[in-house]
């Protein structure tokens, strides 16, 4: 009885989302999977079924592997750093702080500013000799660095921008979650004489877990999705040192107009993300203390 009532209510509540998601996400994704099994149509030459050829091609494609390697570095640095910073920022601006509104706004600016403008501003920050970053480095005698123009530093320079952007973005969700913690729980901890760190560890962090799960999944996805600055600033240069997977998909899709191969790359990216998310979700969601 309850099961069928749930199915009815649940189904009705999900209907609008389901229709939209089907039309604008699942249907095109299915189309993409089909496309990945065909060669790219070129003008008068129609697409022909090639089976897994596009995937085979990927295995032999050095740029694909380079992009994967870069993305791994990118993910392993940006995810933990931006999440830790986000939590720290949220805790800071959740407490009573002088100039709270201004500080909150400062942390949120990366989310407000359009990425094209941001990329252009950072382009200036990274300019050798007179750029802000180089002027700072000159103080320590490390000036004259062409950070974006050298293969060793270019990816790092982009990682800094990503952390800047993502930390401010995630901060806002931690802040909202902190506001939803019942004050009685914190007072109880205070009465028991717990120190701030003890309260943080034993009360606040466990209560933030649902949000942390949300943020961590988004951080993983973000590490593969955030490539706007690559498009504007480096276009993968120098010599693919900053080519990330999604950027490579854009390039293949809209630069080379090789839709078949772009579709295959998209399917692979989707599989990677789905597997990670499934693992995160399946593993963590069971452990999260919800209510």
């Amino acid at each position: 009885m309850k099961a069928s009532r749930n199915a009815l209510y649940g189904g009705l509540l999900l209907l609008p989302a389901a229709v939209l998601l089907w039309t604008f996400t699942y249907q095109p994704i299915l189309g993409t999977i089909v496309d990945s099994l065909f060669s790219t149509a070129r003008g008068k030459r129609p697409a022909v079924f090639v089976g897994l050829d596009q995937y085979q091609r990927m295995i032999d494609d050095p740029v694909f592997w380079k992009a994967m390697g870069n993305n791994l570095v990118y993910a392993l640095t940006t995810i933990p750093l931006s999440m830790a910073l986000a939590l720290m920022m949220a805790l800071l601006v959740n407490s009573h702080l002088r100039g709270q509104a201004a500080v909150r706004m400062a942390y949120f600016t990366p989310t407000i500013l359009p990425m094209v403008a941001v990329a252009n501003i950072w382009l200036f920050f990274y300019a050798p000799d007179y750029g802000l970053v180089d002027r700072f480095l000159q103080i320590f005698g490390w000036g004259g660095q062409n950070l974006l123009g050298m293969p060793d530093t270019a990816l790092g320079a982009l990682i800094v921008i990503t952390i800047w952007k993502e930390a401010g973005f995630f901060m806002i969700f931690y802040l909202a979650a902190l506001q939803q913690i019942s004050p009685t729980l914190l007072e109880a901890a205070g009465l028991e004489g717990a120190s701030y760190w003890q309260t943080l560890r034993r009360v606040i962090l466990p209560l933030l877990m649902p949000t942390t799960l949300f943020i961590s999944i988004n951080a993983v996805i973000g590490a593969f999705r955030l490539v706007d600055h690559v498009v504007v600033m480096t276009k993968g240069a120098p010599d693919n040192a900053t080519t990330l997977l999604l950027f490579y998909i854009y390039q293949t899709g809209f630069g080379y107009w090789d839709t078949g191969y772009a579709a295959a790359l998209t399917v692979v990216l989707l599989l990677i993300l789905a597997l990670i998310a499934l693992f995160q979700f399946g593993y963590v969601d069971k452990k999260v203390h919800y209510r």
Binding site: N6, L20, Q27, S95, A101, A106, F108, M115, N120, R291
Partner: protein, 274 residues
């Protein structure tokens, strides 16, 4: 809560730390202010005696029908925000309170949307819009974004952490499912709604490629299309114009943030008392 847990020097220290971080984070915006209000020759030079000017803004304003673009953008983000709130709340409520066989799998499927950039599906979605005759309309720009996996996921997480007692109490008072949603879940989740609203408004305010591709006329195009005129580098970056255009377009967002960030206050108590 800070007073309960921390001593005065610690508070002072964290305040300084918070401010240092804030300055670091706001540097690009500060640079934007500096460059937008000064002649182009000071774009790469900091000179306190540099003359101030509104000329960059004047040139930017003249280059595109910005007032019309503002109006379009305002309509677009309002449409998206309202629809997303309704559609995502409904879906999240279903996942949390009306679980049925297979709903877990459905939720996993929803998460798939998080992982895919709408740009990757550009050609397919353009074709769909063209078929239903919504090219070059505000609704057409909005449609692919109305059901947001990000929103559904976020609201699910928030709803799930609302104590069961609140829901039970409302049920004992005879509230039906809709009343429970509107009187318990939505009010307690208010900070989350604010956070989501700020994020989604910022995103769609700044979204570029999809609106550019599916619109042709001044009557439908959002502000980023006007902004983009200056963000091109064929002749090197003209930072004074890029930053002036950026400030022009994001000022409403900055104001909205300052107004709404006050709403990040305890929602829990007030919701509980009702």
């Amino acid at each position: 809560m800070s007073a309960d847990f921390r001593s005065t020097p610690v508070i002072a220290l964290t305040t300084v730390g918070a401010w240092l971080l804030a300055v670091l984070w706001v540097l690009p915006l500060l640079y934007g202010f500096w460059t937008a209000f000064h002649p182009a020759e000071f774009a790469a030079r900091f000179d306190l005696s540099a003359p101030w000017t509104l000329d960059n803004f004047r040139r930017v304003w003249d280059a595109a029908p910005f007032s019309r673009y503002f109006l379009n953008t305002f309509f677009l983000v309002s449409l998206i925000l309202v629809c997303q709130f309704v559609i995502c709340t409904m879906a999240a409520y279903a996942f949390v309170c009306f679980p049925f066989r297979g709903s877990e799998i459905l939720f996993m499927l929803v998460l798939v949307q998080l992982m895919i950039m709408p740009e990757v599906l550009l050609v397919e979605n353009y074709r769909t819009l063209s078929r239903i005759g919504l090219l070059d309309t505000t609704l057409g720009i909005a449609l692919p974004y109305l059901a947001s996996a990000f929103g559904i996921f976020l609201f699910r997480q928030t709803f799930k952490s609302i104590p069961k007692e609140l829901e039970e109490a409302a049920r004992l008072e005879g509230a039906n499912a809709l009343q429970i949603l509107l009187r318990v879940f939505v009010p307690v989740a208010k900070p989350t709604y604010i956070a989501y609203g700020l994020v989604t408004v910022s995103y769609h305010w700044n979204n570029f490629l999809w609106p550019l591709v599916v619109t042709n006329s001044v009557e439908t195009r959002p502000i980023t299309v006007g902004l983009q005129v200056f963000a091109t580098v064929e002749q090197g970056v003209d930072w004074s114009l890029v930053t002036a255009a950026t400030l022009l377009s994001v000022t409403p967002l900055l104001v909205a943030f300052l107004l709404f960030q006050r709403q990040f206050v305890q929602s829990f108590m007030r919701a509980g008392i009702r």
